[in-house]
C-alpha cells in the first residue's frame, strides 16, 4: 500500500467537510431521538424526500437547491408536526411506542422509499448549481466546492439550531421536555405542543439535509438506507441530544470513513459507522458529550 502524506491530509480534510454535512443529517435525529425520545428511523427517508423536492424544483425552474430547501422548510415542519400528532395519539398516549411506534416509522420509511421508486425509478438523480464542479486547489490540497458549500451551510444550520435551543423560550421548553415532562405541565406549558414543535423542527432540518445530500452526491431512493446506521451511530456517539457532541462525532465518523475509503477502498466505508455504534454502546453508552 502506497502511503502518502498528501493523500492523508486530503482524506482528513474531506472527512471533516463530509462530517459537517453528516452533522446536518444527524441534527434532526438528535432532536427527535436524543431530546424527544422518539426513535424516528424514517428520518433518512424524509431527507431523500427533501433531495427529490430540491431535484424537481431545480430541473423545472433551475432554482438553487439550498434556497429551494429553505423555502420548503415550512411544509416539512407541517409534515413533522402532523406525523407527531398521529404518533402521539396512536402510540405515545397508549404506551405502545416501543414496539408499534417503531414499526410505524419503519412503515413510513418503507412507503416513502417504494413510492419514490415507483415515481422516479432507481436512476440516480442530480442537480445543477454554479458551485457544483469547480474545485479549489491549495498546494496539494483539493477542496471541491460541491462539498465545501453544503458543509459551511450545515455548520450554520447547527449553530442556528443550538442558538434556538439554548436562547429562545421554545428552545428551552424543548430541552425541558427532555428532562421532565410532568414538571413542564406544572409550569402551565403543554408538553405535547412543545414536542410537536420540536418534531416539526427535526423534520424541517431533513429538507435542508436533503438538498445538501443531492449537491454532494447523486441520489436514488434507497440511498437513505445507508444513512440510518450512520445517523444513529453519530447521534449515540455524540451523546443523546447534544448538538455540539453531534458535530464532533459527525466529524470523527467522517474522518474515519474517509480514511477507510482512501486506504482500504470505498466499499468498506459503511462498516465504519456500525463499528462506532457497537463500540459506543459497549464502552460508553452516554456518548462523548452525554448528559
Amino acid at each position: 500500500m502506497i502511503f502518502s502524506f498528501d493523500l492523508l491530509i486530503n482524506a482528513i480534510v474531506s472527512g471533516i467537510l463530509i462530517g459537517a454535512f453528516y452533522a446536518a443529517v444527524t441534527a434532526g435525529v438528535s432532536i427527535s431521538f436524543g431530546i424527544l425520545d422518539i426513535v424516528n428511523i424514517a428520518h433518512p427517508a424524509f431527507i431523500i424526500l427533501g433531495s427529490y423536492i430540491a431535484y424537481i424544483i431545480n430541473v423545472t425552474f433551475g432554482l438553487d437547491p439550498i434556497i429551494t430547501s429553505i423555502i420548503v422548510t415550512p411544509a416539512f415542519y407541517a409534515l413533522g408536526a402532523g406525523i407527531y400528532q398521529i404518533y402521539y395519539v396512536s402510540f405515545e398516549k397508549r404506551g405502545q411506542e416501543s414496539l408499534r411506534g417503531l414499526a410505524f416509522f419503519f412503515g413510513l420509511l418503507f412507503i416513502t422509499e417504494v413510492t419514490l421508486v415507483l415515481y422516479f425509478g432507481v436512476d440516480y438523480r442530480y442537480v445543477e448549481a454554479p458551485y457544483i464542479g469547480p474545485t479549489w486547489h491549495f498546494a496539494f490540497l483539493d477542496i471541491p466546492l460541491r462539498i465545501l458549500v453544503p458543509s459551511l451551510v450545515s455548520l450554520l444550520l447547527i449553530a442556528v439550531l443550538q442558538l434556538v435551543l439554548t436562547r429562545t423560550f421554545v428552545g428551552r421548553a424543548i430541552m425541558a421536555v427532555a428532562q421532565d415532562q410532568f414538571a413542564l405541565k406544572l409550569m402551565a406549558v403543554d408538553p405535547i405542543r412543545i414536542k410537536r414543535i420540536a418534531f416539526g423542527i427535526s423534520i424541517a432540518t431533513a429538507s435542508l439535509a436533503g438538498a445538501f445530500l443531492i449537491i454532494i452526491q447523486p441520489v436514488e431512493p434507497s440511498v437513505g438506507r445507508e444513512y440510518i446506521g450512520r445517523v444513529f451511530a453519530i447521534c449515540v456517539l455524540g451523546g443523546m441530544g447534544s448538538l455540539p457532541g453531534t458535530v464532533i462525532a459527525a466529524m470523527l465518523v467522517g474522518v474515519v470513513e474517509s480514511l477507510t475509503s482512501t486506504f482500504y477502498g470505498p466499499s468498506w466505508a459503511p462498516a465504519v459507522s456500525f463499528g462506532f455504534l457497537l463500540l459506543t454502546l459497549a464502552v460508553r453508552p452516554a456518548g462523548l458529550l452525554g448528559r
Binding site: I41, S90, S98, L102, A103, F104, F106, G107, F110, G229
Partner: protein, 335 residues
C-alpha cells in the same frame, strides 16, 4: 394440548397441504408455497423476540442472508445435504444473534432496534467484499433437476420448508406456554418490575434473540437452492425485513397464531399481487397495511376477531397487557 400432540397435528396439516399441492399437479404452487412457508418461519421467528419480549428486530434480512450465505460457503467447501445446511445456517445466525444481543440488550430497547438496522448494512458490506461467496457479482448454486423419491427438486425444498415451519410454530407455542414464555411476557409488560422481581431479564432476552436469529438463519439456508443465483441485494432485500415485521403485527403478536395468519394472508396476497400487478406495488401495499394496522388495530387480526366475535374487549387491563389466553401471573420469585 400437549406439545407432542400439537406437533403431530401440525405435521398432519402440513402433510395434507403437501398432498394437496401434489394433487394440483403444477410446480408453480410449490414455488409460491415455498415463499409463503418461508415467511411463516421468518414471522414466527421475529415474533419470538418482537411479540413475546417486545424487542424490535429490523435485521431479519441480515439473519436470513447469513443462513443463505453459510449455505453458499458450505457449497464451495464441502457439499452436504440441505438438512445439514439448515442446521449450520441456524447455528451461524444464532451465534450472531447472541453476540448482537449481548452488546446491545443491556441498554434500552431502541438501541437494539437501531443496531439490528445497522447490522444488515454492515453484513451486506462484508458479503459484497467477500469474493469467496461471490462478492457483489453473486453466486450460482446449480439446483439438481430431480431428487429421489420426490421427483422435482422444488418438492423436496417445499417439504423442508414445511417441516421448518411446523418446527418453528411448535417451538413458538412451546415457549409461549412455558416458564420461559411467562418470563418473556414480564419483560414485554414491564421490564423494570420484572427485573425487580428477580426475573433474569438479560438471560431471557439473550435466549429469545438466539432462538429467533437461529430460526431466521434456518429459513435462509435452503434459499440459494431455491433461487439458483444468489446476490447480496436479493438476500438482504428490504422486503424480508418489512414482511417479517408486518406479518406478526398484522396477524397479532401475542401468540403463535398471529404470525401464522399474517404470513399466510400477506404471503399469498403478495404472490398474487406479484403475478397480477407488480412486485413494487405489492411492497407498497405491505407498507400501508403495516402502518394502517399498527394505528387502527394494534392487536392485529387476532385482536379484531376477539373483539367482534367474543364481545370481549381486548387490552383494557392496561395499555400493554393484552393476554387473553395466558394467565396474567408472572413467574415471579419462588418463595
Amino acid at each position: 394440548m400437549r406439545t407432542d400432540l400439537f406437533f403431530l397435528i401440525c405435521l398432519v396439516v402440513g402433510g395434507i397441504v403437501f398432498a394437496a399441492a401434489i394433487a394440483l399437479g403444477n410446480d408453480y404452487y410449490f414455488f409460491a408455497g415455498y415463499v409463503v412457508l418461508q415467511y411463516v418461519v421468518l414471522s414466527t421467528a421475529w415474533n419470538i423476540l418482537g411479540g413475546y419480549c417486545g424487542y424490535v428486530n429490523f435485521g431479519s434480512a441480515a439473519f436470513f442472508a447469513l443462513g443463505a450465505y453459510s449455505t453458499v460457503a458450505m457449497h464451495k467447501l464441502a457439499p452436504v445435504p440441505i438438512p445439514v445446511l439448515v442446521v449450520i445456517g441456524g447455528v451461524v445466525s444464532g451465534v450472531v444473534g447472541f453476540g448482537m444481543g449481548y452488546l446491545t440488550l443491556r441498554l434500552r430497547g431502541a438501541f437494539f432496534a437501531i443496531a439490528t438496522l445497522a447490522l444488515a448494512v454492515v453484513l451486506q458490506t462484508l458479503i459484497v467484499n467477500w469474493d469467496f461467496v461471490g462478492g457483489s457479482r453473486g453466486a450460482y448454486i446449480v439446483r439438481p433437476e430431480s431428487i429421489a423419491p420426490f421427483g422435482s427438486y422444488i418438492k423436496y425444498l417445499f417439504l423442508i420448508m414445511m417441516l421448518l415451519a411446523v418446527g418453528a410454530i411448535t417451538v413458538a407455542r412451546l415457549i409461549e406456554r412455558s416458564r420461559l414464555g411467562y418470563g418473556f411476557a414480564t419483560i414485554r409488560d414491564d421490564e423494570l418490575a420484572a427485573e425487580a422481581c428477580g426475573v433474569p431479564t438479560l438471560t431471557l432476552k439473550l435466549i429469545a434473540t438466539t432462538i429467533s436469529g437461529a430460526l431466521m438463519g434456518m429459513a435462509g439456508a435452503p434459499f440459494p437452492y431455491y433461487i439458483g443465483f444468489l446476490q447480496p441485494s436479493s438476500a438482504f432485500g428490504l422486503d424480508y425485513a418489512v414482511n417479517s415485521i408486518a406479518m406478526p403485527l398484522i396477524g397479532g403478536t401475542t401468540g403463535w397464531v398471529g404470525p401464522l395468519i399474517g404470513a399466510i394472508l400477506l404471503g399469498s396476497l403478495q404472490q398474487i399481487a406479484t403475478v397480477t400487478i407488480s412486485s413494487a406495488v405489492n411492497l407498497l401495499i405491505v407498507g400501508f397495511l403495516l402502518v394502517g394496522f399498527v394505528i387502527v388495530a394494534p392487536n392485529g387480526i387476532i385482536g379484531l376477531v376477539r373483539k367482534y366475535v367474543q364481545h370481549r374487549p381486548v387490552g383494557q387491563v392496561g395499555p400493554r397487557r393484552v393476554e387473553a389466553d395466558a394467565p396474567g401471573s408472572a413467574p415471579g420469585p419462588t418463595p
